[in-house]
Subunit: 410 residues, 2 copies
Amino acid sequence: MIYKIAVKDARYQLDGSAGSDAIHRDPIYSYAVTQLIDDSGTTGTGFAFTLGEGNDLVCKAAQYYAQKLVGKDIEEMMTDFGTLFRQLSDDQQFRWLGPHKGVVHLALASVTNACYDLWAKKRGVPLWKLLTDLSPEAIINTLDFSYLEDELTKEQALALLKQEYMGKSSRESILKTGYPGYDTSIGWFNYSDEKVRENCKKAIAEGFTAMKLKVGSADPDRDIRRAHIVREVAGESVKVMLDANQQWTLPNAIAICKQLATMNPYWIEEPTHPDDVLAHRTLAREIAPVKLALGEHVPNKVIFKNYLQAKAAAFIQVDAVRVGGVSEFLTISLLCKKFGIPVVPHVGDMGQLHQHLVLYNHMAMGHEALFLEHIPHLQKHFVHPARIRNGVYETPQEPGSSCDLIALHH
Amino acid sequence: MIYKIAVKDARYQLDGSAGSDAIHRDPIYSYAVTQLIDDSGTTGTGFAFTLGEGNDLVCKAAQYYAQKLVGKDIEEMMTDFGTLFRQLSDDQQFRWLGPHKGVVHLALASVTNACYDLWAKKRGVPLWKLLTDLSPEAIINTLDFSYLEDELTKEQALALLKQEYMGKSSRESILKTGYPGYDTSIGWFNYSDEKVRENCKKAIAEGFTAMKLKVGSADPDRDIRRAHIVREVAGESVKVMLDANQQWTLPNAIAICKQLATMNPYWIEEPTHPDDVLAHRTLAREIAPVKLALGEHVPNKVIFKNYLQAKAAAFIQVDAVRVGGVSEFLTISLLCKKFGIPVVPHVGDMGQLHQHLVLYNHMAMGHEALFLEHIPHLQKHFVHPARIRNGVYETPQEPGSSCDLIALHH
């Protein structure tokens, strides 16, 4: 039984220009952490990610949701978590502050993730194993399909998952080989050209075969120059992704993406405003075969459904510490599977939680094991930091979702 | 010069079942109030609306934005408010909590509205008069057109406004006749059939020619029965609007709206999830000629642009205490004008602020003077409550935006 909760505001200064992009010049990576303390002695930890200012607001909202879980048994709660998730996300008064977006939804992510963490820890298994061992019915009962009925009802989702489970054992080899990673930290926005060049060489030496550069400069020539530097150093066989962090208008995006096409990007990420479904659809059509990726700022399954219906994105970058946690992440992953679109999460969690989720997505849902973003900047703060070797995430073995933070752990 | 700020959390209990709808069964109408205190002795008041829980979160975020205005001169600030608005809404770290939605954007509405109120008070005129007397250039400089470039650039907006200003004086008769209102309070969700019937008669006796009923029940027969009661009592010449408050799935909405069509609703409001642009587009096509209205939960101009592009809504119900305040309300109104779609605001402010804005929209932008929602429940708390007689809003004459609250006023 959950007998106590604790919510903590954890903020971490980054070194130098790490983390900088076209719109976030000086972030403080922060977590609004929920701890669900069980009378068995186990603590479930979950968090949402922010860039510093306002992390306390998310904490306060998480406190409100978490308080409602006191007295509940985690196993019982997870047998029908989908219903509870909907109740929490449709809280009569709190809902006005979203719905299903912004501070309140980030807070719900924090609390939801703590539930899944506690569940796995109490069973003594890593989250990927908990999920993979559950029946399709048990998984589906943790999800909420409201407002997806025109594309994916609960019944359809169950049928889809049952079908994919038939290939599950054949895909378990990923546990041994490890899930591929890609390096996001070669080209933060404020890094000099020279530093980008060096980081690129280093990433290749470390075994990465995919990496990302921040673009979206007020000076398009800077973007184009730096993109070609990375292509030149990385060679033709490496996948290079470009990330504009919403900096372009639609007309600008069309013009610049056509120029960037010459260095053959694997995708162009967040070209414009994350709410602008129809602008992305127009852009995707204009710059094909260049592909778009997006999702780190998309708050919920309804908007992802719109992006998928509009065929606006070739890669979906849903983040389980932005949408309503593991539950909504899995719902969106099922929706993507239906549409045949790969899930390549944004890792506000630095990959700690997502390393479990992409293993499940691959093994149980049959999603391609493409690669998972890797950002190393907070490794020293985690009790069980994600381990990446030769460009590959090693499969985590500790019970839970690998989200315990050193200073907060007891 | 603004030398001090104050942010206040004001919550008001409603009587009985007032304010109830299909999703909000027990709201506490609340304002996160920003006061900008000028060294001239004038206080600018603005607010955002919430349903109670979490109003403190909006206050805290408003404090963060408002603090940045200390030391500024209001007249100087408003000469280029559009740029300041964009800076605030793209604050490096705070932006992650949105962007442009949820708690942080509600907070920005509160602060923005206080700026316009202070501006009008210092000039000693009602807000509608301040706006109407400004040149098209001066208005446009208070607005932010970022991410609208594919539909309406700043230059195009100026040209549009200049053109509409030519008919401005001919539309000033609205100041004398008053802006028509409609009654939202005849049929709150929890009211009995008998109370709906009585309220309907009362509204007609008071001179209203348009009124709204809450639907979205789990039992569609209840909705249909009550809709027909209103039509029967009101007669054929009264406009009756139905409001489902997001309660339907798309498949349900299609089925129920087709049944409700038989009582000839003027519009059907918020049929499903407010983020679901493409579901509304599908529904609008399926149930034509029945028309859809939406906007009270739409947080920003980018999503409104998508709704307009998708031809998903026949009426746009933007609320200046939900989007980023007066500035973004006017931007969205211009966008609607371009698309030929009427603006019929949702009034989280109980019509206090919007009575000014619809006068401006009509006189200066050439929007049809359709009607403005009227909700009487908080009248006693305002220093200058909106006055509605014979179903018509009387033109407010006091300086400012009519948003001062009695207990908070000094």
